[in-house]
């Protein structure tokens, strides 16, 4: 059992932008605004001009149903849009078209890896709404002298996924977000890499206080940071004998702090009523057919990978944590040894990609296949394989070319022994250190051997020969093997 000392309860409202649709949710404006100037992807509808009317994008409704089903929700018989009346400069109509009573789906759950193993996070509802515009402040929101508004984002289709307050730590919150993003990416309705694709409002309370709502969180890391900050803040308030009041706070991403947004508007009264310009939806009948088209979701795929390819749970989890990666792996595993493929993709390639801020798109499947071929046939060393991966990512080319250019074909026997002899001769200090009991000195000797063979020697073999060779020195007590 996880002991939750502060009684932390976290619920998240995640806004997922359906940015793979061609158009916005209520108008025909194109969604590919990300690199365009402000207010260049707008029309009377999404600019909220007087007299303009919304019409629902059918694809957006289908995507919403997909997401609801993937989150184990029930798709409702009767669905309707409401007006949520509040005022903010990013909201061009003075209300947001969203759902209230009769959301499109509700009552689901997501399994995450919690503090104490598998943990279930309840999904209250997943409903449709329109995205507001984007605000730009000079400096910070509380000090900026004015607010600039870009409505290109206004009217993008959003799915708001509201969780139960089931998360007990910032870490669980982050894992929930990772899982959610992972699931939704599988559905091919959203590209999580685009700016503003996934945004989070977090509700957090600790024992003895009321909950605070933190707005404006735009990354998973940001969510974790904001929540960590907020727990400390709330604890400090209570420790000083203060009261944690219910309020809205703004996450300042740069400073990694939350700021109170308390103004008179705190007295929320959204005056919801059904949007008279839109008619109800009766689409629960679509759900069975859409369910048929749902792809295999991350959890199911992970289990299948373990069973079908005999790889470890950790590898399967890592490989299915991103749809593209899972597809990449599976294509490779069908033609090469699945276990070797898992090790090289998860443990090496993924790290090299992350280091370079690249996605799996930057690496060709054929290259992974030939790399595994070279490894399995013992034509190259593991170091050589790493070198090839790095070179492919940095300079391009093909594995065979790189092997030829760099002379990476593995060397054995005499060449390694000769290199060892030379290394011992040229590095008397390292040898002396080793003799004096500095076990780590051996590493620099191994390094010297590798350098002499241009990495083509197998490091383990080199080490063994060195140990063997150095045994000849009178050495007591024998060093522990590292």
């Amino acid at each position: 059992m996880y002991y939750n000392p502060d009684g932390v309860m976290i619920g998240l409202e995640v806004h997922v932008q359906l940015n793979k649709l061609k158009t916005k949710v209520f108008c025909g404006c194109a969604t590919d605004y990300h690199n365009d100037p402000p207010n260049s992807h707008v029309c009377p509808v999404c600019l909220g001009l007087p007299g303009a009317l919304p019409v629902i994008n059918k694809k957006a409704v289908e995507a919403a149903i997909k997401i609801g089903l993937a989150l184990n929700c029930k798709v409702e018989e009767h669905t309707q849009f409401y007006r949520k009346n509040y005022y903010y400069p990013d909201l061009p109509k003075g209300f947001q078209i969203t759902q209230y009573d009769f959301p499109i789906s509700s009552g689901g759950y997501v399994m995450i890896e919690g503090e104490d193993g598998e943990h279930r996070v309840g999904i209250t509802r997943a409903h449709m709404e329109e995205d507001p515009g984007r605000l730009v402040h000079e400096g910070t929101i509380d000090r900026s002298k004015y607010t600039l508004i870009d409505y290109n984002r206004s009217g993008m289709a959003l799915i708001e996924i509201v969780s139960e307050p089931d998360m007990r730590s910032p870490k669980e919150a982050r894992r929930y977000l990772d899982k959610l993003r992972n699931i939704i990416e599988y559905l091919d309705v959203f590209d999580g890499n685009l700016e503003g694709a996934l945004r989070v409002d977090a509700n957090i309370s600790i024992m003895g206080g009321q909950r605070a709502e933190i707005k404006n969180i735009s990354s998973h890391k940001g969510a974790e940071r904001a929540l960590l900050y907020e727990i400390v803040r709330q604890k400090n308030v209570l420790r000083r004998g203060g009261v944690v009041v219910q309020e809205t706070r703004h996450f300042d991403e740069a400073r990694e702090i939350t700021l109170s947004m308390r103004t008179k508007e705190e007295a929320h009264d959204y005056r919801y009523f059904p949007e008279p310009d839109l008619v109800p939806l009766k689409i629960s009948g679509w759900a069975p057919a859409i369910k048929e088209t749902l792809p295999e979701l991350p959890d199911a795929r992970k289990m299948r990978f373990v069973e079908q390819y005999g790889i470890t749970d950790d590898h399967a989890k890592a490989l299915t944590s991103e749809l593209k990666l899972a597809i990449f792996y599976e294509d490779v595993a069908r033609k090469a040894d699945p276990k070797t493929a898992a090790v090289w993709i998860c443990d090496v390639l993924k790290g090299e990609l992350n280091y370079r801020d690249l996605t799996i798109d930057a690496f060709k499947k054929e290259h992974m296949l030939s790399l595994i071929g070279l490894l399995v046939s013992k034509k190259i060393t593991e170091d050589g394989a790493v070198d090839i991966i790095r070179t492919l990512l940095d300079m391009g080319g093909s594995p065979d070319e790189i092997v030829a250019e760099k002379g990476l074909l593995k060397v054995e026997g005499d060449i390694v022994s000769t290199a060892v002899e030379e290394a011992i001769k040229e590095n008397p200090q390292a040898v002396a250190d080793y003799e004096a009991g500095k076990v780590k000195a051996l590493n620099s000797l191994v390094g010297a051997v590798m350098k002499k063979t241009k990495g083509r020697a197998d490091a383990r073999t080199a080490r063994e020969i060195l140990l063997d060779r150095l045994k000849g020195y009178n050495f007591y007590p024998p060093p522990e093997r590292e």
Binding site: A30, P37, N39, S40, K58, Y146, L148, V279
Partner: protein
């Protein structure tokens, strides 16, 4: 009965600044209207569904196709803006 204090709250909810005179003047004009509306209390609406739309329309959609006819270019979008800067609408400070 709406008091001038209530009016201040409703005015804030509606983002409508009311002068002292307006608050004084509106209450006696609005209260008879609200009294009149109270006649609805006498209608038995037990089991009656509300009518949001007079026509029984449902499932009205558009296809996910870009409308090349309606978009505004940046100049058109900003053409009525009282204040703009670098292609953005310019609003007052938030706080």
């Amino acid at each position: 009965m709406i008091t001038s204090k209530d009016l201040e709250h409703i005015g804030w909810l509606a983002r409508l600044e009311l002068s002292e005179e307006e608050k004084e003047e509106y209450a006696p004009k609005l209260n008879p209207v609200l009294d009149y509306f109270s006649e609805l209390d006498e209608v038995d609406t037990e089991g009656v569904e509300p009518t949001y739309h007079v026509l029984a329309l449902s499932n009205v959609f558009r296809e996910d196709e870009v409308n090349t006819k309606c978009p505004l270019d940046q100049d058109e979008a900003l053409s009525n803006a009282p204040n703009s800067q670098d292609g953005f609408f310019k609003a007052p400070r938030m706080m």
